[in-house]
């Protein structure tokens, strides 16, 4: 199972930080994501694209999370050489993450 099966995600940028908001589809999914979305697992998932630290902020009021990926956009929207200059596709990339049993 992947994050895609139990959540929605949307990503954006602030300087060289990419944020990925994750919305669990129900309470059970939120509980499962609380265990799955650890900074270590997320950092491994994105590999060489995330040079800095990863922070995860739970938002229990909306069964959501905000993930911050530092130094993740090749210098930020104004200077990155990547195709996806504002990091919009980090959302769908996160949805590919496998969930532990």
């Amino acid at each position: 199972m992947q994050v895609k099966d139990i959540a929605y995600a949307r990503s954006g940028d602030k300087g060289d930080v990419v944020n990925v908001g994750v919305l669990a589809l129900d309470d059970a999914a939120y509980g499962r994501l609380l265990r799955a979305l650890t900074p270590d697992r997320i950092k491994r998932h994105f590999g060489e694209w995330v040079h800095g630290k990863v922070e995860v902020f739970p938002m229990p009021n909306i069964n959501g999370f905000n993930i911050l990926l530092h130094n993740a956009l090749g210098g930020g929207a104004t200077k990155t050489l990547r195709y996806d200059v504002t990091g919009k596709a980090f959302s769908t990339a996160l949805l590919r993450m496998d969930l532990p049993e």
Partner: protein
Amino acid sequence: MKKIRLGAGSAYWGDLLEPAVELADKGEVDYLCFDHLSELTLAVLQRQKAKDPNEGYIKDIEPWLEATLPQARKQGFKIVTNAGGANPAGAARKVIEVAERLGIGDLKIAVVTGDDIFPDLDEMRSIGIKFPNLDTGEEDIDRIRQDIVAANAYVGGDYIARGLAAGAEVVVCGRVSDTALFIGPMMHEFGWTYDPTDKDKIGAAITIGHTVECAALATGAVSNLWRQSKDPWRPGYPIAEVSEDATAVISKVEGSGGLLNEWTVKEQLVYEIGDPNNYYMPDGIADFTTVKVEEIAPERVKLSNMSGKGLPDKLKVCIGYRDGWEGEGSLLFSWPDAYEKARRGERIIRERLKLLGVDPIELHFDYIGVNALHGPVAPEPGEMNEVGLRVAARTRTKEDADTVKRESTHLWTLGGIGTGYLSPAQPRPSVSLWPTLVSRDQVQMKLTMVEMGGARK
């Protein structure tokens, strides 16, 4: 209970025009708010202003005002915009021209300035203000001083509120925060202030502003639910109906396209934010972890239980500086062995640049169809019909950027067989951002009222 309706007319420079007209015609709004600025925009606008002192504002203001001002006049709603960019006074002159063309002779405009500290940098530096870089920790701006093209403080909605209190029908601002465009009217209408007793109300105002400021992004654009978005070619933009008790209902014009439900509002709530417990804005710190999001009827989503933590001591300043040039080119390789040919193309470019003695600061290759968007997260592909190769480089000189562009086109012939290429973009200056904080008292805000038929302070 007193309620006001705020429409979000645009989210970026070059946004769609018709949804704003729909809001003006059928949204029954009290305020129509236009955001046109991004982190990069001020650098572009300052460059325009340097070439011509009458320029430096967002040109969209002309068609947008032309299309919505007649309804504003007829219904009595107010317009708030940050299209002033690097030249709010210039934008206000354009608004007057538009009004004259529409036969309006007595428009009152408020011009909010003071966010632009670019002209004051040397003086501020000379009295010991260092502008340390929040991202890199670099202590002062001296290394980049000569390359700085823009420096703007993100300012709040208080001067918008003052302009409205002075009777303005159109408020033209520069780099106010996106949320301030909505917070200003709420402060004006409900009498909310920066006093600590109002901190939850300002927290609510920030949360509400954030929910609608990106326009279509709250109504089915950039959405996981894209399949459900009705007639996505004519999206309805959001309206925040704000009550005096600091709750709000998000809606859109009945029958408009797009999608508005609990999920699209939550998608926007988590968009482009940092720590949700402390969402810093010039007007206050909002806590997004208390808000209750509730779909109370079709296309009506209620926000309640919002909170805040008071006014931050400092203002964020975004400094933009020239940092080399960017050159790029794009090729498309066909079956058979498309990916192998694309990878060989990368090797050819690298060798060509070496042969020509061009050493970019940074050289980047995207494999379109393979991993351009997901990078290391994307699995290895199987056989592909075609693969795009995009080469992009940041270089020290314009000439080097041009060489990268030119060399990319050679892959049309050197890149194997069955290769197409896109006419590449021209080399462009690359701008880096230098985020920093300054004390509030170092930014002197100013309100200028302009009345048609004569100007007064």
